[in-house]
Symmetry: C2
Amino acid sequence: MTNAAAVPSWATEDTLADLSEGEVLARIFPRLPQADTELLGPGDDAAVLSAADGRFVVTCDMMIQGPDFRLAWSTPHDLGWKAAATNLSDVAAMGARPTALVVAIAAPPSTPISVILGIADGLRDGCEALAPGCGVVGGDLSAADALTLSITAFGDLEGRPPVLRSGARPGDVVAHAGRLGDAGIGLGLLFRFGVDEQGVPSREQADLLKDRHGALVAAQLAPVPPINLGPVAAAAGATAMLDVSDGLAIDAGRLARASGVGIDFDSTALGDNRELALGGGEDHGLLATFPPHSSLPEGFRRLGAVTAEAGIVLVDGEPHTQGGWDPYRGWDGQAG
Amino acid sequence: MTNAAAVPSWATEDTLADLSEGEVLARIFPRLPQADTELLGPGDDAAVLSAADGRFVVTCDMMIQGPDFRLAWSTPHDLGWKAAATNLSDVAAMGARPTALVVAIAAPPSTPISVILGIADGLRDGCEALAPGCGVVGGDLSAADALTLSITAFGDLEGRPPVLRSGARPGDVVAHAGRLGDAGIGLGLLFRFGVDEQGVPSREQADLLKDRHGALVAAQLAPVPPINLGPVAAAAGATAMLDVSDGLAIDAGRLARASGVGIDFDSTALGDNRELALGGGEDHGLLATFPPHSSLPEGFRRLGAVTAEAGIVLVDGEPHTQGGWDPYRGWDGQAG
């Protein structure tokens, strides 16, 4: 099924089409971490997880080759890591401790098995680094033209109420944990320098870029969001929280509208490149509000204050005009 | 973005590219059923569900245009219904009552909004008909070339142990609830008669087929599996159970290997077309084993007995050679 000239390094390797679904799964499962909450793992029609406090948190997100990643830039390990990281971050943003993932993967039949195993390794390493005890409890394998990862993640609120977007009150402190703008710089570098002379995403060019700007490119391809700080913020009394996925200004606007408040950033706290801090997406930091005069948990940094103006984002008291990412409007469809 | 000549009936309709993600979600959510277990629904980083007995069942499945469905044959409502039905069936096969779904949808930017709303309506009607009280608690929208639905489903074991594939014992009764072979006949009819003169899937030909063989085509496109009988079988003491998705022989083989037993079907119980009953997939009935001399719950029919031969499927005591479906080997990739 594979074209030896086009994929020389894979020519002697098994592809998905060479193996049965059962054989692929048998190679994947031993690489995946087991969840501490797992009562019944993969292999039956469904898994069974414990939910100690009688509730569970659930979120889902899909990553698709083209709109969401290019295989010329991301390694399979990057893909698994980022799929874990972004979903764990949504769980953490509720103030919950991530407990488990289920993972559906669709891939072309010509995909080398090493790609799927690399994704599995990235899922494992991402879970182990970002949320120890969180494991993969089930999944699904399908065929598709574009490599697709669909993740559902679960979390444990450990008896606490969830931290919603809607709880911020005027006078609260606005704080952030994690990186701000680095993933956006990394993506900008990849679009500008990670391409060949025709502008097509290039593995060779991306590798050169990684040699020179490894940390920034990694912030985009394999982010390290502060997952553990979600439950910490909840325990410290956070009044509202969300995951900063589409850029600080857009996500602050969501929190502001949900809470019926304004979010006023201090420009001095946004660093030298204010537009990048406000507009750069995919850092997956945590934006949270805390009661007035709170001492912030370690890892959070004050960015401003909650005001009474309903539903708007300000910088130094002046309204900020938003820009940002929309999955349908922003899509260029290039597979890469 | 749309080609008016190619899609005349959609030319004046909003597409996903015309609307923001928020606007699309605002149109979808009011159509979706709320889950009885929902503590916090869509709109935050994650949902929160109750898990009354301190556990929850979870399964996932992806449906992709081409390998899993053709838009020339399935209506958007069919897609939503089938996505619900197949996932609810995996929950039921554990002996659990389905409680909730999360739904990730990826679609081309040119997709008319009516397609997405039709899927939402199918999800709602499928949940309401097959598992009242089960709702959609969250989701994700992405861009992709191929329409893709990724569903994760949850269930409540209501204090019972899960019914595994591995619990069958020699002497147990083998029983089945639901249809057997109809979905396979429906698919065969579609492949043979639901195409134009060039063999390309055709909506017009499929509509003619639905006029004449509506029930068989519907068994394939919008199945009605016996979801409620999963918990009933569990309460009646089922020793093993699974969802028959890939055909009776293949799925009986899975149960046989997991339990270390043989499954011996009585040919008289398999009906006139034994090969179709054994080989036709996608009916999503429930194959279960019950202790010897059990009186079967209403809706289950005796198909044979569990024997001591490890890991094999028999008919009237003779080994049965399996055939069936593999997602990578069986794929033809035609989009339709």
